[in-house]
């Protein structure tokens, strides 16, 4: 089937088998290798992309079901000359070891901070009725629970995200 994907600012027209996931379309067809295939079952978060502005697991989305979608991967977060603040913060805080989960962590963190800015509560938010969310470390951990890091770099991932959140340096 013919579909159009707008990935990291470029429009691509491609023919795909209906079984192709968004993850495989990005990696195998468009050569965008930022999103990683970890578990391929929506459990690890390594494939996280922004799909029409929201973070999702690209391994569980069929490409044909997202014809015309706008996708941003970790590679698309950076401009030509400058890293995205979240990318810079991950480097600054040494928030990874092997790096395999990192593109997913970074995209997820960017999407997560937008959710916080929109006032979305989380499972650990004491009062779901509260207007604003105070982004404590507990909140960061809960909201990032869909991204696993088998090297266990969480101790540095949390401060890396916190610094971007506190600095208001989302974009």
């Amino acid at each position: 089937m013919e579909i159009t994907l707008r990935a990291d600012g470029l429009e691509h027209r491609l023919a795909v088998d209906p079984r192709t996931t968004l993850l495989d379309a990005l990696r195998e067809r468009l050569g965008i290798w930022g999103p990683k295939k970890g578990c391929d079952h929506g459990q690890c978060g390594a494939c996280t992309v922004l799909l029409d502005g929201k973070r999702v697991n690209s391994c569980l989305a069929l490409a044909v079901a997202h014809d015309g979608a706008q996708i941003i991967t970790a590679e698309g977060l950076a401009s030509d000359s400058e890293l995205h603040p979240m990318q810079a913060s991950f480097i600054e805080h040494d928030a990874f070891q092997c790096g395999y989960c990192t593109p997913g962590q970074i995209v997820s963190a960017v999407g997560m901070l937008e959710e916080v800015e929109s006032g979305w509560p989380s499972h650990v938010t004491r009062d779901v009725n509260a207007g604003e969310v105070s982004l404590t470390d507990e909140e960061i951990r809960e909201r990032m629970s869909g991204n696993l890091c088998r090297c266990g770099a969480y101790a540095n991932i949390v401060p890396a995200i916190r610094e971007v959140a506190e600095g208001g340096r989302l974009r």
Partner: protein, 328 residues
């Protein structure tokens, strides 16, 4: 993954008509459960009819003070919706305790209701499973069954329903609207789900090609202080061992009304009618709440590995009712 045809109908009636012609077809919404099951070979549909852009993605006020939730509203949008957070906080809390941020952003209300059990044997196509392959037997009955049902199970199936959202909707007496080949109908959520009996392959009472279009929440004033509590093996991103959704109305120290539902204990979200009847008109004290919880669980029939769920469910229910009464 087995090849399938992907079909995107122009409207709801077209989608229903298309699927009605395809006995081995299914509807596709967010896909977070279905695509996974297809990768594993647990589900092998010939046709996917994509309805994600067909059903409503809005939440409307109803004239009676309730809310109508479009089937395509994502779990994230529903949890964050102001009117849900203020009028039915147990529903927001239930949604936020399920899955991960990424999954909630694409999973829909309709799809959440129809997700399949996470019984490990259902997922493992090398093992017998009456739900996946009727007549082959239940591997969990004598197998590893620590996650399985303690209420309403049968010899054919001891699986539990995985949804948190549906537990809150069950406590709230939600009504599910469907559109099918024979027209539309409204189904109280307690009648949407079923116990496994001799047909564990049927999770719900829906007929083939019936599409969930929306879910109505009736008005319930005292739901504004309702809660959802989930006990699981990790702090986040895990299915419930036991969960409780409850709303309590207390006046002058006496329970006037209650809504209680349990998750993780049965093939369907378990409405705790016996506990509700037991607490109504009784003093709002721990003793009443514990007696109510025990009344609800009197018929519990635990398996080899899940006897812990009986006291766990009783304790969580008791504490939840106590917390709700103290907060009034």
């Amino acid at each position: 993954m087995k090849p399938f045809r992907y079909d995107r109908a122009g409207d709801i009636s077209g989608a229903v008509a298309t699927l009605a012609r395809e006995q081995a077809g299914v509807f596709l919404a967010g896909g977070t459960n279905l695509v996974d099951l297809m990768k594993l070979g647990v589900m092998e549909p010939d046709v996917l009819v994509d309805v994600r852009r067909l059903t409503s993605r809005g939440i409307e006020d109803l004239p009676d003070g309730g809310l109508r939730i479009g089937a395509a509203v994502t779990n994230s949008e529903l949890a964050a919706e102001r009117r849900i957070r203020s009028r039915y906080p147990m529903l927001s809390q239930a949604l936020l305790s399920g899955a991960s941020g990424q999954l909630r952003n694409i999973a829909t209300a309709g799809g959440n209701l129809l997700q399949r059990t996470r019984c490990a044997y259902f997922y493992d196509i090398t093992t017998p499973c009456n739900k996946r392959e009727p007549g082959t037997g239940c591997s969990a009955l004598e197998g590893c069954n620590k996650d399985h049902a303690i209420l309403g199970a049968s010899k054919q199936c001891v699986a539990t329903h995985p949804s948190d959202m549906a537990v809150a909707l069950t406590a709230l007496d939600a009504v599910v609207h469907v559109q099918g080949p024979a027209g539309g109908r409204a189904i109280p959520i307690s009648e949407l789900y079923r116990l496994p009996g001799d047909e564990p392959e049927r999770d719900t009472t829906l007929q083939h090609a019936e599409l969930i279009t929306s879910v109505d929440l009736p008005p319930l004033g005292f739901a504004s202080s309702s809660r959802y509590r989930k006990v699981r093996e990790r702090a986040s991103y895990a299915f419930a061992l036991v969960s409780v959704a409850a709303a309590l109305q207390v006046q002058d120290g006496v329970v006037r009304d209650a809504r209680i539902a349990l998750g993780g204990v049965a093939h369907m979200p378990w409405r705790a009618h016996q506990a509700e009847d037991s607490v109504r008109g009784r003093p709002a004290v721990e003793e009443s709440f514990r007696a109510a919880a025990q009344a609800e669980l009197a018929d519990a029939a635990p398996l080899r590995d899940n006897a812990y769920k009986v006291p766990l469910a009783a304790n969580v229910m008791t504490q939840m009712l106590l917390d709700l009464s103290l907060a009034q």
